[in-house]
Structures are given as structure tokens and as C-alpha cells.
């Protein structure tokens, strides 16, 4: 099954252990991006097992301590361990972006497929609606919704997912148009293939690489957007930590000279976005044969 699936999905063999070394040489960008992203995931989800400190416990006698052996990333304005807060802060930052992207991908696939496979006039209606949605400034819309919806990781997933699918939908629709008149699709139609079958097999498989590339970029986008919202206080709500929120808090406290409260969340956000962009760009390069 594993071998069969990897053959079907082109570039995925690089996920197999046996080809690990070969994959590094064949796709250094993808592999370094993946490694970096997995490291960030491990930091956020497995880190607290190695460093079992509560991110919420307040220690009034050790405020603003600089990084040291005892407090690897220092402490914040309430004396909480900043390493623990960074670890727990990664969970919503990465989790919301990943799940939100999957949601956006599913909506985009459905909408794009429906549009591309519709008769021309209906396709145009779909596309005009899409243009209208794309014309709305996403961040302003998010700020609007964030102000009226109770904020939790779940509502943020829905918000981000429901607002970031139009780009993917357009790509999917264009791919459908590019592939739906191919001879192999005609051949399948000649065997009585229905539209649903064509969408699930021929079209989905043909567009899979380009869709995955763009889904990867969407994850990067959402990490940034969520960080931006949290920075503005409209994302993950304190006391639950998130990288964007920590960064916002740190910048308010810049006057105290606690550089670690700004550097580490900023670095984490940067690395997360960088890793996803490396994966996306690497896959794109492979697709285009560069």
C-alpha cells in the first residue's frame, strides 16, 4: 500500500525511511523545510515532557530574569517560565494554521472543482463570486469577525479557514480547466465515467502536486496572519500563550530591556514561516524541473 501510494503521488517517496538520504540530496529545500517544521512541532508538543514547567504559574520574586541555565529562555513580567510559554504557545500557533489550511484546502477543492466542471455560464458566476470575496481585505475582515466572535482556537480555525480558501479555489479551477479536455479524460468518459469519478481520480491526481504546494504556502500565510491577529490582541487570548501574543506582550515591555521576550517569539514565527516556504518552494522547483 505504501509503495503503491508513493508511486501514485509522485514526489512523496521522500517520506519513506529507506530513501531518506537520497531525498536529502534530491530535494534539499523540501527536506530542510520539513525537518525544521517537524522540529518546531516537536518543540511545541513534545517539549513540555522534557521541560515540565507550567506556563501559567506566577513567581512574583523572579520577574524579568534573563536567559540562564535555570531559566533557559528567561522569565516574563509575571515571573512565568518563558521556555514553557514558548512551548505551549507553539501549539495554537501551529495547530490553528495547519487545521485552518486543511479546512481551506477542502473548501477550495470543492469550490474549484464545482466551478471548473460546471457549464461555462455557471463557472463565470462562481468566479465572479470568488472575485468579490478576494476583493475584500482579509485582515480587516478578520479583525471585524474577531471583534464579534468569541475567540478560541476552534473559532480561529473556522475564521482563518473560511477566509483563506479563495486562492486555492482559483488554482483548483484553473487546473480543472487545464486537464478536463485531455484525451485520457475523454477516454474515461468514453467508458461511461461520471463527473464525480473524473474529479476524484484523473483531475485530483493530476492537480495534486500543485495543490499541495499551494496548501503549504497557505499554512505559512496562516501562521503569519494568526501571529498578526494575536499580536493585535485579536487572536489567541491570554493567559493562553501564542507566539504572536508573546511577541505583542514583549514589545509592550521593550522599555524594560527584556530582549528575550521579543527575540524568541519573533524567531519562532520566522522559522515556522520559513520552514513552510522552504517546503513549498522546494516542491515547486521539483514540479517545474529546476
Amino acid at each position: 500500500m505504501n509503495e503503491r501510494a508513493s508511486r501514485r503521488w509522485g514526489f512523496l517517496p521522500l517520506l519513506r525511511w529507506g530513501t531518506f538520504g537520497r531525498s536529502w540530496r534530491a530535494a534539499p529545500l523540501v527536506m530542510s523545510g520539513l525537518t525544521l517544521f517537524l522540529a518546531l512541532l516537536a518543540f511545541s508538543w513534545l517539549g513540555p515532557w522534557v521541560y515540565p514547567q507550567s506556563p501559567y504559574t506566577i513567581h512574583p520574586h523572579r520577574l524579568f530574569l534573563a536567559p540562564s541555565l535555570q531559566h533557559p529562555l528567561g522569565t516574563d513580567d509575571l515571573g512565568r517560565s518563558f521556555l514553557a510559554r514558548m512551548m505551549y504557545g507553539g501549539r495554537p500557533s501551529l495547530g490553528v494554521a495547519i487545521v485552518g489550511s486543511i479546512l481551506a484546502l477542502l473548501i477550495g477543492l470543492g469550490y474549484g472543482m464545482a466551478s471548473g466542471l460546471s457549464p461555462v455560464w455557471l463557472d463565470r458566476v462562481f468566479m465572479r463570486i470568488l472575485d468579490a470575496i478576494l476583493a475584500l481585505p482579509t485582515l480587516i475582515l478578520m479583525i471585524f469577525f474577531a471583534a464579534i466572535v468569541p475567540l478560541s482556537p476552534l473559532s480561529l480555525i473556522l475564521l482563518l479557514g473560511l477566509l483563506s480558501w479563495p486562492g486555492l479555489a482559483r488554482i483548483v479551477r484553473n487546473e480543472v480547466l487545464a486537464y478536463k479536455e485531455r484525451d485520457y479524460v475523454l477516454a474515461a468518459r468514453q467508458y461511461g465515467a461520471g463527473t464525480g469519478y473524473l474529479a476524484r481520480t484523473h483531475l485530483l491526481r493530476s492537480m495534486f502536486p500543485i495543490v499541495i504546494v499551494n496548501a503549504t504556502f497557505t499554512v505559512a500565510d496562516l501562521i503569519l496572519t494568526l501571529a498578526g491577529l494575536s499580536f493585535l490582541g485579536l487572536g489567541i487570548q491570554p493567559p493562553q500563550p501564542s507566539w504572536g501574543g508573546l511577541l505583542g506582550n514583549g514589545s509592550n515591555l521593550a522599555i524594560t530591556g527584556s530582549w528575550w521576550l521579543i527575540l524568541f517569539p519573533g524567531l519562532a514565527i520566522l522559522l515556522a514561516i520559513l520552514s513552510m516556504n522552504l517546503v513549498g518552494q522546494g516542491l515547486l522547483n521539483r514540479l517545474e524541473g529546476r
Binding site: 461555462v120 477516454a187 474515461a188 468514453q190 467508458y191
Partner: protein
Amino acid sequence: MSTSPLLAVEDLTVAFATGAGGLLRRARGSFVAIDGVSFGIDRGECLGLIGESGSGKTTLGRAVVQLVAPREGRICLDGVDLTALSGRELRPYRPRLQIVFQDPTESLNPRFTIEEILTEPLSLLRIGNREGWRDRAAHLLDQVGLPEDLLGRPPRYYSGGQRQRIAIARALATEPELLVLDEPTSGLDVSMQARILNLLRDLQSRLGLTYLFITHDLGAVSYLARRIAVLYRGFLAEVAPTRELIAHPAHPYTAALFAALPRLVRGRDAVIPSVPALGGSWPPVPGCPYVGHCPRAVDRCRTERPLRRLLAPSHEVACHNPMVGPR
């Protein structure tokens, strides 16, 4: 024409809308790709269909296998008019007619394995059971002279000739009676062309297949086809047995087509230039579609569309002033 041909095409007209129709606008005009074409193919026969690029050959082939909906006319398989059937009613007839496309790179999905390609028709038409499909796929490869160990890989591992054999194997998957061959050799080099033609001839005699062989290659068509139909701008100019057509082309266009063949031996060269085929219009204009380029045009050709008439046994031509008289 025999009394009960396997395939009978009657007054077939296929047109495509042209000009971009808007959200509320209707498409402006239409382009007539096939214009009142009639012919029949007997069981076990191979009918060659020749014509230059843009003459509507491919459209005609696709209309026969119900990939293009005709505007008018009937396409009958064993006396049943396929154009009148709904998608569901058509299902039992689909296995009986299959098509081999020109370019196997295009007609085989690069993301499928050979096994998936060969079993797709079986699963879509619900033929046999899943356990038997792999054996069937192996048997199909054997039929076209390929080893069974090709099954696990995608088409990009194989050469153009091998891919075309795979495409032929897929068309045979449903045990069809009629195979539409849409220029199956034109993407291949000469030696591979000969091998594919031999394979097709061999399959025809072994499996009792009926072919509609579409090509612009006069050599290939005379090798495989007993009878040839000449298509010009979607208009059937002449139908005759292969030898008869080559020896006595009656339509000036057929003669021009033969004259355009490069010759190895210097012979009597006809100076009839062939012209690019442009579209017809709808409703059809009166007169012969070839009149603008025909050296033998008479006044009648401009006003009256020539009807097909019999010149010799099974030699039909649609021309007011044919190159050879009735015999």
C-alpha cells in the same frame, strides 16, 4: 453498401459554437465540422478515412464513439441509433465501440500505472470482478505483444511505440467490435509505424475487429483498409475500394490529395495545389465546398451541392464533373 452494416452513419452533422458567449449572451455563430456525412462499415471490415488537417476526421471519429454530440443525423450500431440514447441507455453499447487516440502521451494519464490504465475500463463498465482484472490486464498486454511486468509502472517509463500498444490494449479491454483508430501511427517513427500497423492487422484478423481507420497517411491506409472515404471540410467527397480509388480517383480533391504525396520516382505530376481547409458555415452555403479550388469547376458547382452518386460498383463520388465517367 451491404444490407446490414455494423456501423451506419446517416446524414451526420456536427457543429461547434464559435465566439465567446457571455453570461447572458448567446454564442454568436457556429462552425460546421461535419456536414451531412453518410457511410457504413461492414462487420470485420476496415474503412479508411482520409483528409487533410482540419477536415473533421477526428471529430467524426469522436462522434462515432459518442464523445461529441451531433447536431443532426444518426449513428447506428447494429441498427440501434446511439444518438437517441441517454447516458444510461448507452452504457451497454459503450464496450462495443472503442477509440484509440492519436497521441498515447495524452491519452494515458501519466499518474496512473499501466495496470490502473488497463483496468479502468473494466471497473467503469463493471466488467468482471476485481480479482480477475489483473489477469485480464496481463492478457491484454500479451495480446499487443508486451510483457506482463510492465503493469506496475506509469507510462513515462515506456517508449512512444510501447505506449501506443498500451493504448490499443486498453481499447481492447472491453472486447469491442468496432475500433475507431484516430491516427494511431502519426506520432511514431517509420519502423514503429509499420509494427503498429502489422499489430492492428493481426488483431483484426484474430479478434474479428471492425476498424474505422482515420489517418492522413495514404500509405498506412492502403495497407490496412479495403475501402477508403475521403473527407474534405467535413464533407464526404468520395468513397471507393482502395485499389479503385488509387487507380481512378474521381473527385478532383482526391486527385489533388494523391498528387500532394511526395514521390520517390519521378512521374506525371499533377499541378493541382491543395489548400488549407477552413471552416464551413451554418446554414450551409449552396454549391460544392471545393469549388473555390477546383480546376474542373463548372457553373453548376457554384449553385448546387453535388450529391453522392455511384460511378462503379461501390465507388461513390459527390461531384458534378468527376475525373472519370460512370463505367
